[in-house]
């Protein structure tokens, strides 16, 4: 099992890395001429052209270029960013914490909210509240990240003025206490976190609701009811535990998806995480930075998805014991 997962995801990772290497080089005329002829791209200065030439080592043979590329990847050395004039690795490590923080918090929030609402909804299946909640959740799940973020931004920042529109902290903040700094950064992160939570909550909710409805219909829940067990106990000890088995897999997939969502949300709120960095790198064709960020994003997303695939069959204790019981009978 683990071999299969590793080989599939490993293959895809290598594929992405190869694409990253060959795409710019296979463009007619190479990256520089390509960029020059592009009306949406930036205008290149002589200095930038020189940097690109150096970066791509276009004078070397393709084989040498490829070896250098692989070597850089293995040593996490992606060169210097054109626009930031800083090593890419340094930039990534500067901006990564912002993304990890909003993605992490919204993972926790969306899981907690999705699980609670899903259980509640499944428990009250066939009542009006359940249907209404489900339609609302389907609607939220249908909207894309940037649209959800934009609606929140328009309402809470622009119209009501409760939250700052952009950034991760107030420039020239007039406070010395760590408390003031923390409040300020939470204030800035609130809308990005709420946006990511909203997009993510609906899939958790729908899964938990579905599982809950299935578990409630199973014989052991009927038998537990026959035992006259109190509602709370039935819900929390019997249904909860069984309905939450598949959540872990979903959580891993959601984390992967949240990193993608963070690209849009950070761009929208000008939040200085690696998502915004990626958007800027792509827009200004800052190739070294793009290389580095693609590497980080692919690695993160593929890692969490692979973990989900690998762990999926291992979570149910019955899978382990099933064969043993079969032998007994």
């Amino acid at each position: 099992m683990i071999k299969k997962v590793v080989s599939l995801y490993g293959f895809v990772f290598v594929l992405l890395i190869l694409l990253n290497f060959f795409l710019p080089r296979l463009m007619p005329g190479g990256p520089i001429e390509y960029l020059e002829g592009l009306d949406s791209g930036p205008v290149l200065t002589e200095e930038q052209k020189q940097m690109m030439k150096e970066y791509y080592q276009l004078d070397d043979s393709l084989g040498e270029q490829f070896l250098n590329y692989i070597q850089g990847m293995l040593t996490f050395d992606f060169g210097n960013s054109f626009i930031h004039k800083q090593p890419v690795t340094e930039l990534v490590f500067d901006h990564l914490p912002y993304t990890l923080w909003i993605v992490g918090i919204s993972t926790v929030f969306s899981l907690a909210l999705g699980i609670l609402l899903g259980l509640w909804s499944g428990w009250f299946h066939h009542k009006h509240g359940d249907r209404r909640l489900m339609l609302t959740m389907m609607a939220l799940g249908a909207l894309p990240e940037f649209l959800v973020g934009m609606i929140l931004l328009l309402i809470f920042s622009v119209y009501l003025g409760y939250f700052p529109m952009s950034g991760a902290s107030t420039p020239f903040l007039n406070t010395d206490s760590w408390w003031g700094v923390m409040v300020d950064s939470i204030h800035h992160a609130t809308l990005p976190i709420i946006s990511l939570t909203i997009i993510s909550v609906s899939s958790t909710y729908l899964l938990v609701r579905n599982e809950t409805i299935q578990v409630i219909a199973s014989p052991f829940i009927e038998f537990a009811r026959m035992k006259g067990i109190k509602h709370n106990r039935l819900l929390y000890r019997h249904i909860f535990k069984n309905a939450l088995l598949p959540i872990f897999t979903l959580m891993m997939i959601r984390i992967g998806a949240l990193f993608t969502g963070a690209i849009f949300i950070e761009a929208l709120f000008s939040y200085p995480g690696i998502g915004k960095l990626l958007k800027e790198a792509v827009l200004s064709r800052d190739y070294p930075l793009m290389h580095g960020l693609f590497f980080v994003f692919s690695a993160l997303i593929l890692f969490f998805n692979a973990l989900a695939d690998y762990l999926y069959p291992k979570l149910d204790p019955r899978v382990k014991g099933g064969t043993k019981v079969a032998k007994d009978l």
């Binding site: 990253n20 609607a139 894309p144 529109m165 929208l268």
Partner: protein
């Protein structure tokens, strides 16, 4: 209420009309910047102008066309790929290997990253986007089509067609394709939605096609000028594309949603005392029917204290339904009559709270499915309100070791679980026990043991037992009376004690 489910379809038709003929009626070229920048809405410019002096209303209409064009073309290409590749993979096992292998890889590829990568190096024209998204979005639904084809292939009408010499193309088109319609419809709508959103997202990031107007690119331009948020100009610059995108997305999402069938109204419950049955389990004029199909008709009988009564009948005769009705598990809508334990009706709202596992207990059909697989037996014993000592005593009385309480159900054999279930049923010394085919999942030797154990306990505690079984030998061997259920009626069998 019914009408609201047609709303998404109506909205989408409106969008299609606007996209199709709208641009012909628009007053300005969306790219012309003859007007002044940031004009407020007026008779000439219904939604004002953007920072470049472009008419926002005209841009919105052209943007509608762009979005729908992209959505529909990608959905069409992708659905075409789904059907063709799905048919090939399902029908020809050689093609299956290749197609499925590619699908596995594509499913794992992070779509958005790949699109960003390609757009960064190729510029991001609309044609490129259509090709990339079409190529990336077929695997999930291809698998569904493939599995449908794999099942259909084995069905008689396809086999027959093959044996009459129908060629592959004919069979695929005439016999298999028509079954794929619902899948194709869902796939088309979902892909249309996600394609529209992907384009809008990329354009919002500034990676759209610079030669076309789209809602996403309008938002990109608007958000690159934060000054519009200082006065109210965002209301006509940002709000319209946001609202249109949201409405279109939601309409596409709910296009597939249908009205749920209306629910059965709860009947008001009336309870009358049953004459002369204050100390027994009484079934009084019970009728049960599901979907107007009668299961049992006008059934009345009693089980007296300390009596073992068997209810026998062929499978499908309604024995288990009867057992569930007697335990008050059937919803009020499907049965009439009354069932009372010592004069307490199961129709009472609080019957479950007051009597389950106190006055009456139930032995479930299959012990393995009765226990929660994720909780230790100990927990499933203690939750009926007994102490640990009582639980240990109960399992030891059915000759199990007390270690079983620390095990999960999957760690126990079927026989152990059956014994545990009996121990559990008697643990609170109830007056009545209903056993619903407790032996049907057991092998003959085990069955004898379990039945003996059950009878022993019933006699020891002076419990009334209603024993439901299809096994006549067991029924006649242990019962004081045998009731037989057949043709929707219950009759008492004559017993001759040998």
């Amino acid at each position: 209420m019914q009408k609201i489910y047609k709303l998404p379809a109506i909205i989408i038709v409106l969008f299609l009309i606007v996209a199709f003929i709208g641009p012909a009626f628009v007053p300005y070229d969306p790219f012309s910047y003859d007007a002044a920048a940031y004009l407020e809405p007026s008779a000439e410019h219904w939604l004002g102008t953007s920072q470049l002096g472009q008419d926002i209303f005209s841009q919105l209409i052209y943007g509608t066309r762009t979005s729908l064009l992209i959505g529909i073309s990608i959905a069409a290409c992708s659905t075409f790929l789904v059907v063709v590749l799905g048919l090939l993979a399902g029908y020809f096992s050689l093609a299956d290997k290749v197609i499925n292998g590619v699908a596995n890889i594509l499913l794992v590829l992070p779509d958005l990253l790949l699109i960003l990568l390609i757009v960064a190096f190729t510029g991001g024209g609309i044609e490129q986007l259509i090709i990339i998204l079409s190529l990336l979005s077929w695997p999930a639904y291809m698998r569904i089509v493939r599995s449908v084809v794999l099942t259909l292939k084995e069905r008689d009408f396809v086999k027959a067609s093959q044996s009459f010499g129908g060629n592959h193309f004919y069979i695929l088109r005439a016999h298999i394709l028509p079954h794929l319609r619902p899948i194709v419809k869902t796939k088309f709508i979902l892909t249309c939605k996600s394609a529209i959103l992907t384009e809008a997202g990329l354009a919002f990031l500034g990676l759209g096609d610079p030669n076309v107007v789209s809602w996403g690119s309008m938002l990109n331009v608007a958000f690159s000028q934060p000054t519009i948020f200082l006065d109210s100009s965002w209301v006509w610059i940002v709000l319209p594309p946001v609202i249109l995108l949201a409405v279109l997305t939601l309409s596409l999402t709910f296009l597939l949603e249908e009205k749920q069938p209306s629910k059965v109204r709860m009947k008001k419950v009336e309870i009358h005392p049953i004459q002369g049955a204050e100390k027994d389990l009484s079934v009084h004029q019970v009728n049960i029917s599901f979907d107007k199909k009668a299961i049992v008709n006008d059934v009345s009988f009693q089980v007296k204290r300390g009596e073992i009564v068997s209810l026998i009948g062929p499978s499908g005769s309604g024995k288990t339904t009867m057992a569930r009705a007697m335990y008050g598990l059937l919803p009020a809508g499907v049965w009439s009559g009354d069932i009372q334990y010592d004069g307490h009706s199961v129709k009472n709202q609080d019957f479950a709270n007051r009597h389950y596992w106190k006055t009456c207990a139930f032995i479930y059909q299959d012990a393995r499915s009765a226990f929660n697989p994720l909780l230790k037996l100990k927990e499933q014993f203690l939750e009926v309100g007994v102490t640990m000592e009582q639980a240990i005593q109960a399992v030891e009385e059915v000759s199990l070791s007390k270690d079983i309480l620390d095990k999960f159900p999957h760690e126990c054999s079927g026989g152990m679980l059956s014994r545990a279930l009996i121990a559990l049923a008697f643990i609170n010394k109830p007056d009545f026990i209903i056993a619903d085919e407790p032996t049907s999942a057991l092998d003959p030797i085990l069955k004898k043991e379990i039945v003996q154990l059950l009878v022993e306990k019933v006699r020891a505690y002076n419990v009334s037992l209603l024993f439901i079984t299809h096994d006549l030998d067991v029924a006649y061997a242990i019962s004081d009376r045998v009731l037989s259920i057949e043709n929707q009626h219950v009759e008492e069998e004559k017993l001759c004690h040998a």
